[in-house]
């Protein structure tokens, strides 16, 4: 109980620090509060309903996402399209050599990732798999996690699942990774001693640091963030959320963040994939 009030106090401190000036009375009903924008939460979910981060953003930001031309993320998608059929590496192959078209070969992939790879005995995010193919099948150099090429490719792959419900498997060999991700989500960390759950579950809809807190879902990644002026990965977002509470962030692609990605995907099970989304 005491710890809980400390967390609440820290949140208030953050909110006041932002000088929001929005009080409970004059706050209009947010679109995230409207029933028609809610999605049924999965079985055993800690949330009463799911709502995409899209509905916490301003009409202007949403309009950018709604139009594939105005959505700046498509500048990267075009790069992904180029890379898809570009031969690279000692094997003389491109993605298209084995997967033909992305429209066919990559349909639904991002909706069910991350997955457990028995071959590698680990959880693989789409980004891991792309590099696995590059290194092992193309004999090409890995792409950096946050490089333009990698983001373009994962955005292009994500686009092939757009509109499909997130649907990850959490059973069998995946279970221990899921549990680890769940623990991470609930662990307090950093100088503010906060866990993901304190912001994204207990306080979504609140105004904090000049933003409306969302449920913190992963269905829109990679995301073009107006603040970044660039496309960014989910693991970059994790680092940001860790930094904001003055906690030490993990590496992009680390097992910790990949397990967290899995748990987050499950929390958003049923939400439609929006990649590549636009956020503030």
């Amino acid at each position: 109980m005491l710890r809980k009030s400390i967390a609440a106090a820290a949140l208030v401190a953050l909110a006041v620090g932002a000088g929001s000036g929005v009080s409970a009375e004059d706050k209009p009903v947010g679109p995230w509060e409207r029933k028609e924008n809610h999605v049924k939460a999965p079985k055993d979910s800690p949330l009463d309903y799911l709502v995409s981060g899209y509905w916490f953003r301003t009409p202007k930001t949403r309009a950018l996402q709604d139009d594939d031309f105005e959505n700046p993320a498509f500048l990267w998608v075009e790069q992904g399209i180029e890379e898809w059929s570009k031969v690279d590496g000692k094997a003389g192959k491109s993605c298209a050599s084995c997967h033909e078209t992305a429209e066919k070969g990559m349909k639904g992939v991002s909706a069910r990732y991350p997955v457990y790879s028995a071959k590698n005995k680990k959880m693989m995010a789409v980004t891991h798999q792309v590099n696995y193919c590059r290194e092992n099948y193309m004999k090409a150099k890995k792409w950096k996690w946050e490089s333009g090429k990698m983001l373009g490719m994962t955005a292009y792959i994500g686009l092939q699942s757009r509109g499909m419900p997130v649907n990850v498997s959490i059973d069998g060999p995946v279970r221990p990774f899921f549990e680890a991700g769940k623990d991470f989500y609930h662990e307090r960390r950093g100088q503010f001693d906060l866990a993901c759950v304190h912001c994204h579950q207990a306080n979504f809809g609140q105004y904090i640091r000049a933003d409306f807190l969302s449920q913190g879902h992963s269905n829109g990644f990679p995301t073009y963030r107006l603040k970044w002026q660039k496309l960014g990965s989910l693991h970059r977002r994790f680092r940001g959320c860790n930094n904001n509470i003055r906690a030490i962030p993990y590496k992009r692609g680390s097992p910790e963040y990949t397990n967290l990605e899995l748990y987050l995907a499950w929390r958003g099970q049923g939400l439609k994939v929006e990649s590549p989304s636009v956020r503030q």
Binding site: F69, E70, P72, L75, W76, E78, Q79, G148, Q229, K230
Partner: protein, 107 residues
């Protein structure tokens, strides 16, 4: 980087006004940011000019400033009387240009 995208309707009805949309991937380095490691200023490099011509005649022109955000989006309206070709040119500090063209028919 710096790949431009344009959206021009292929077919335009005579007398109609249509919106042309353009977007270019560009960092728009303001010249006031410092390299985090060395503390030195990063030189300014922005798209400072944009021009659209239909069959060689300027129909839209703009100067851009360092306050413009990365990946600038520019849109404007045209109401062409006959079919033609529209050429777009973005000019970067230092004089480098990026171009894109599109054809349209008016009927």
């Amino acid at each position: 980087m710096s790949r431009p995208r344009v959206r021009v309707p292929r077919k335009i009805k005579k007398g109609d006004t249509v919106t042309i949309k353009t977007l270019i991937a560009h960092k728009m380095e303001t010249g006031v940011r410092r390299n985090k490691k060395t503390g030195k200023l990063i030189p300014r490099k922005i798209i400072n000019g944009f021009e659209a011509k239909i069959d060689g005649k300027t129909v839209f022109k703009a100067s851009l400033h360092p306050a413009v955000s990365a990946n600038p989006y520019i849109s404007f309206a045209i109401s062409p009387e006959k079919s033609g070709k529209i050429d777009f040119v973005w000019t970067e500090d230092g004089g480098k240009t990026f171009t894109k063209s599109a054809k349209f028919t008016v009927a």
